[in-house]
C-alpha cells in the first residue's frame, strides 16, 4: 500500500511535481504514465526516500517516508531508470551484496539469491560481470536486486526500456506474477504495457495528476491511447497536441 498526498517537489523555481495525490492499494499493479519529463522519476525517487519532497506526505505500508525512512526502505524494492549495477562485480556476488544491504539474514542470503536468479532467468549468467551483460540482462539483474529481500512494495522505473520485444514480453509476464500480494508501481510511456499488466492507471503531465482510475473504467469504449492523449493535451493546451500524437504513433 502506497499513499501519496499533496506531494510537491520544487527545484528552485521549477516545479517538477505539483500537489500529486494517489493511492496504490495492496495487491495491485499501478501504471504510472506520462510523457517524458512529466515528473514520474521524481515522484518515484520521493516514494523510495532517495529525494526529499518540498511538501506533502508519502506513506508506504503505513510508514511515513520522511519520519520512518528506514522502515520504508526495508519494505521497498526499487529499480531505478538505470539498473544500479557495479560493472566490476559478477551477478551472484552483486546480488549477495544487495541482499546484505537490504538486511536479509545471513542464512537466508543463499536461498534468496537462488530464488531471484531463477525468477529473473539469470542462472546462466550468475558468474558473468554485470559490465559485460547485454542491456536485457542488465535490466533483469536490476529487477533481481529489487526482489532479493522479497519486499511487499515494488517501485519500477521504466522496467522495459531498451529491451527487444521478446525480452519485453518476458519482463512483463514476470511483473504480472509479482502482483497478487505485492503493491507494484510501474512507470512507463509505453501504453500497451499498461493495458496488459496494470490494474490501475495514474497519468501525470507537467507534474500534475490528470487521470487516476481503474484500467477497466478508463478503457470502456475507448483505447488507452485516446485517454492518454486526451488527458495530456488538455493539460498542455492545443499547441502540444499534434506533436504528442505523432510521438505516440511513431
Amino acid at each position: 500500500m502506497i499513499e501519496v498526498a499533496n506531494l510537491t517537489k520544487r527545484y528552485g523555481d521549477l516545479s517538477a511535481v505539483r500537489d500529486v495525490s494517489f493511492t496504490a492499494p495492496t495487491g495491485q499493479i499501478l501504471g504510472f504514465l506520462g510523457p517524458n519529463g512529466a515528473g514520474k522519476t521524481t515522484t518515484m525517487r520521493i516514494i523510495t526516500g532517495f529525494l526529499p519532497a518540498t511538501s506533502g506526505t508519502v506513506r508506504v505500508e503505513g510508514f511515513d517516508v520522511f519520519q520512518q525512512s528506514t522502515e520504508v526502505r526495508r519494505r521497498i524494492g526499487y529499480l531505478p531508470e538505470n539498473p544500479p549495477l557495479y560493472n566490476d562485480m559478477a551477478v551472484a556476488p552483486y546480488l549477495r551484496f544487495v541482499a546484505r544491504l537490504k538486511g536479509v539474514a545471513r542464512r537466508d542470503v543463499e536461498p534468496a539469491l537462488e530464488r531471484v536468479l531463477e525468477t529473473c532467468g539469470l542462472t546462466g549468467v550468475r558468474d558473468r560481470l554485470t559490465g559485460h551483460l547485454s542491456k536485457g540482462f542488465r535490466q533483469r539483474v536490476g529487477l533481481a536486486q529489487a526482489l532479493i529481500h522479497d519486499p511487499p512494495v515494488l517501485v519500477l522505473d521504466e522496467p522495459t526500456i531498451g529491451l527487444d520485444p521478446a525480452q519485453i514480453r518476458d519482463i512483463r509476464s514476470l511483473i504480472k506474477t509479482l502482483g497478487g500480494k505485492r503493491t507494484v508501481v510501474l512507470s512507463t510511456h509505453i501504453l500497451p504495457e499498461v493495458a496488459q499488466v496494470c490494474d490501475k492507471v495514474v497519468i501525470i503531465s507537467n507534474g500534475r495528476i490528470v487521470v487516476e482510475d481503474a484500467l477497466e473504467n478508463l478503457t470502456r469504449g475507448r483505447s488507452l491511447e485516446e485517454v492518454f492523449l486526451d488527458a495530456i493535451s488538455k493539460d498542455l493546451g492545443d499547441g502540444a497536441r499534434a506533436p504528442a500524437a505523432a510521438d505516440v504513433e511513431a
Binding site: G49, T70, L85, P93, F97, L101, G103
Partner: protein, 257 residues
C-alpha cells in the same frame, strides 16, 4: 556493523578486483624503494668520507635514523599526497555515475555506515601500503642498528598521516560526481595541509601559532624524531573526525535538497 563490513568489502573488491590497488601499491613502493636506495648510498658515501678524515666525533653524530629513516619517511609522506587521492577519487563519483548511489541511499542503511564502510575499505589499502613500506625499516634493522622505537614512531606518524589524508579525500570525493575533480580537489587540499606551515614561519602572534599548529608536517616531523606527544595525536584525531563528520553531512545533504 554488518552493513559497514558489506560496504567496506565491496570497496576492497573494487580495488583488488581491478588493477587499481596493484598499480597504486607498485608505484608507491617502487618510488619509495628508489628513495631508500638513494638515501642509503648517500649515507654510505658520507660515512666513508668521515672515516677517511678519521673524525670519530663527526662519525658519532651520524646515524641511520637521522640520515636515512627520517628523510625516507618525509619522502614517502610526499608520495602519499599524490597516491591517496587516487584511492579516494572513485568512492562517491563512481557510485553517482553508475546510479548505484540510488541503491545505497534507498537501502535500509544509515549514512554513517555508508561513509564509514567506504573509508574502511580505503583504510585497508592505505595501511597495507604504509605497512609494506615497513620493509625498508626492517632491512635496516637486519643489516644495521637503527633506533627501533624512533623508527616505529616515525612509521606510526606516516600511518596517521595516511589515515588523515584518506579522510580528507573521502570528504572531497563526496562533493562531486567527477573523478578528476575529486582527484585534483583532494590533491589541492592535501598540498595546502602539507605546506600551510611555511606560512606560519612568517606570521607573528597567535595567528602564526595557529597556522603552525594546522600544518600536518609539524606534527609528523615530531613523530619522525621519536616523540609521540598527545598534542600531535589529538591533532590527527581531530582532523580525522572532522573530515568524516563533514562527509556524513555532505552525503546527508542529498536529503535536504
Amino acid at each position: 556493523m554488518r552493513n559497514v563490513v558489506a560496504i567496506a568489502g565491496r570497496e576492497l573488491r573494487s580495488y583488488f578486483g581491478s588493477p587499481v590497488a596493484y598499480v597504486l601499491l607498485a608505484a608507491y613502493l617502487a618510488l619509495a624503494g628508489y628513495f631508500f636506495y638513494a638515501l642509503l648510498i648517500a649515507f654510505n658515501q658520507t660515512l666513508q668520507i668521515y672515516q677517511m678524515m678519521r673524525n670519530p666525533e663527526m662519525l658519532q653524530r651520524f646515524n641511520l635514523n637521522q640520515m636515512v629513516i627520517a628523510p625516507l619517511l618525509h619522502n614517502m609522506s610526499v608520495l602519499l599526497i599524490f597516491i591517496v587521492p587516487a584511492v579516494t577519487m572513485r568512492m562517491f563519483p563512481e557510485e553517482k555515475r553508475a546510479g548505484t548511489y540510488e541503491l545505497l541511499l534507498t537501502s535500509p542503511v544509515r549514512i554513517g555506515e555508508i561513509v564509514f564502510g567506504k573509508f574502511l575499505g580505503g583504510l585497508v589499502l592505505v595501511l597495507l601500503m604504509v605497512g609494506l613500506s615497513g620493509f625498508f625499516g626492517a632491512l635496516l634493522r637486519i643489516y644495521g642498528n637503527p633506533e627501533v622505537p624512533m623508527m616505529l614512531s616515525g612509521y606510526l606518524g606516516l600511518g596517521l598521516m595516511a589515515v588523515v589524508f584518506l579522510a580528507v579525500g573521502t570528504l572531497i570525493a563526496s562533493f562531486t560526481d567527477n573523478v578528476v575533480v575529486a582527484y585534483v580537489g583532494t590533491l589541492f587540499a592535501l598540498l595546502v595541509l602539507y605546506t600551510v606551515g611555511w606560512l606560519g614561519e612568517t606570521i607573528q602572534g597567535p595567528l602564526g601559532g595557529f597556522v603552525r599548529y594546522a600544518s600536518i608536517t609539524e606534527h609528523f616531523a615530531e613523530m619522525t624524531k621519536g616523540i609521540i606527544d598527545t598534542k600531535d595525536l589529538v591533532y590527527f584525531a581531530t582532523l580525522l573526525f572532522l573530515a568524516l563528520f563533514l562527509t556524513h553531512r555532505s552525503v546527508e545533504s542529498v536529503r535536504w535538497r
